[in-house]
């Protein structure tokens, strides 16, 4: 009896040990395997100049410059601080500098990095670099981007060490994160849809990495597939990325293709204007995409399954009560401060002064964006199609919390809008939200 028990125990412990050892080997193997596949000569039928140009276009689609350039720094020289709940990370230098940049990299190294989320020495990349999206980029496109980056001016800017807290400063812990949130693989076209849809999917899911912000980010810093594109609060920056699904109330369900294309290309449209972090995206990335590509993205987005909007964390339903006094107060402020541009019936004078009636940003569940617009104002980004943007002034310094809560409540419930009222506490909290990096 004892012998049987001890034999079973031995077998179990042997199995457990084997599993542990396998995991350890797997982890170290996953961490340390360097890129070793032979390189393929990129695009033999394309001239080098054309490849670099194509790479520049794709780098714009991927918006590399936004994170790899610091505020007063040279393009792609890195050093841009990215605060996260785990600490602050600094982007690396990706100019072709031999010592600090990618000067010694090969096209294989670059593709391996983009595709598998490993650095050249084999260690894991922190997912603040959206490699879960960039894994979808094809080899040919990766090579083109690499050739473009090799052509920019090399800057000898040393890389700054990340400021992550213990235990997040240990890269090998990312193994668990990758298991949950990273699905390696190039974009696989869906044969049930046409080429335009698939091109849109490739751009939205891949280089555009739209889901990184427009899908809610959980406490582990990952996006959950079941909430894809249903919107989410961007941590640290405290802006809400709206839902992009075809939900009629929260998403793009009522937008036409032309409206989406105009919005993405110009930054302002009949439906509304971009603001917050999306201003940067349009300014540095989307305004440079071709009409065909923008249309493809619009086709893909319009076809996303309708999902209920992800409410921002901590939001209580029905937290604020609607009262006649608040509405009257809000109406008075609207008349004094907002009506001259947005007009008495809320239709605005688009594209310069966006409509408030039937505007997704105003009436969606999260009130973060309309409150922040009233607090801080904003100018639409300057783009080739919108070279002289109109702007909204900030009201934080002249309106109290009660004033702002009243007027935002007013616009969220008037003219057929189906938004919820907002509280003074919400307004107050957003006064200390960071304005820029």
């Amino acid at each position: 009896m004892m012998r049987n028990v001890s034999y079973r125990l031995m077998r179990k412990s042997a199995l457990a040990t084997a599993v542990l050892v396998a995991l350890c080997i797997g982890a170290s193997h996953a961490q340390q395997q360097p890129a070793s596949a032979p390189s393929a000569f990129p695009g033999a039928q394309e001239s080098l100049e054309q490849t670099v140009k194509r790479g520049e276009y794709l780098a714009q689609a991927g918006d590399c410059v936004a994170c790899h350039t610091k505020h007063d720094g040279q393009p792609f020289a890195g050093g841009f601080p990215m605060p996260t709940p785990f600490g602050t990370l600094y982007s690396p230098n990706i100019t072709p500098d031999a010592e600090y940049g990618i000067g010694k990299w090969s096209a294989d190294d670059f593709y391996h990095m983009l595709h598998t989320g490993h650095r050249r020495d084999g260690s894991f990349i922190y997912p603040v670099m959206p490699f879960p999206a960039y894994t979808k980029v094809t080899r040919a496109d990766s090579d083109a981007i690499f050739m473009y980056l090799r052509s920019v001016k090399p800057i000898p800017e040393p890389n700054r060490e990340n400021g992550l807290r213990f235990p997040y400063d240990n890269r090998s812990l990312l193994l668990g994160w990758r298991e949950l949130f990273f699905h390696e693989g190039e974009y696989r076209p869906d044969s049930k849809h046409n080429d335009e849809w698939n091109r849109g999917g490739y751009l939205v899911e891949g280089l555009g990495h739209c889901g990184t912000c427009h899908t809610a980010i959980n406490k582990l810093g990952g996006n959950e597939d079941r909430k894809a594109y249903a919107g989410g609060l961007i941590p640290m920056q405290n802006w809400y990325a709206p839902s992009l699904t075809s939900n009629k109330e929260a998403g793009l369900g009522e937008w036409s293709l032309e409206e989406i294309v105009e919005f993405l290309r110009a930054g302002a449209s009949q439906r509304g204007a971009v603001y917050g972090p999306m201003s940067e995206v349009v300014h540095n990335s989307l305004q440079y995409l071709s009409d065909a590509d923008l249309r493809a993205m619009a086709v893909y987005l319009k076809d996303l399954p309708s999902r209920h909007e992800t409410p921002p964390p901590g939001m209580l339903p029905g937290a604020a009560q609607l009262s006649a006094a608040v509405l009257a107060h809000g109406h008075a402020i609207y008349k004094a401060q907002c009506q001259s541009c947005h007009l008495g019936n809320g239709v605005g004078q688009p594209p310069g002064y966006p409509p408030l009636a039937n505007n997704q940003s105003i009436e969606m569940q999260s009130a973060v964006n309309p409150i922040r617009m009233v607090l801080n104002g904003g100018y639409a980004p300057q783009t080739e199609t919108n070279p002289r943007p109109y702007g909204m002034p900030p009201f934080a310094q002249i309106l109290s919390d009660a004033d702002i809560a009243a007027v935002v409540t007013y616009i969220r419930v008037s003219w057929g809008n189906h938004g919820q009222p907002v509280t003074t506490a919400e307004v107050n909290t957003l006064r200390s939200a960071p304005l820029l990096d």
Partner: protein
Amino acid sequence: MSTACPTRFGMSLLLLLLAPLGQAAEPGGLAKPGSPPPDTMFARVQGCSTCHGSMGQGTQDDYFPRIASKPPGYIFNQLQNFREGRRSYPPMNYLLAYLNDDYFHEIAQFFADQRLPFAQPERSRLPPAVLATGERLVREGDAGRQVPACVGCHGPQLTGINPGIPGLIGLHSRYISAQLTEWRAGTRHANSPDCMHEVAKRLTEEQITAVAGWLATQPAPAVPTPAAPGSWATPLPCGSQPR
């Protein structure tokens, strides 16, 4: 359940009653609903109105300066400084982040062209002796500390020179002392050579208070426009003003 029904009923009633308020024919603006806004610079710069006044004339707030009638090159430099981070003030850095230089020139020219009445000058709490010190510094400088007279660059009427040297009338004392202190501390930068940094470094804190206090009490100038470029030689080289 029993509390939810009356609330919802009440809310619908409320909305029904208030709906006419929202949809009444109150056009407000000059244009018809739904049509684009006026294609004017005035319509475009309303993003500046709550702090700087609808035409740049300033407001009662101490910290947001009057920008009307300032030289266009000076306003352009400041817009660029805010976008590039040489001047740090988060609401301005945020508003200007994605606008380009050509648009800045247009905005600057718009405000430079405005001719608007000045607000009443400040009534200073400072003792007369301090104000007199301030006036002396403005008109004569301080030879011992190698501080040039303000009028040497900013003009005998303190209305500035085109394109880059601003006038100093119509600003609040708190704003002026804040800017001089920032230059001294190095948190405000101008294009190099940064002449104002040099000047502010040589001033004592009491002198900053005196100068700011006196300048804020000055009445509106008879001719508020900046002088033409090259009207006189400036004592210090300045990155913001071509020589």
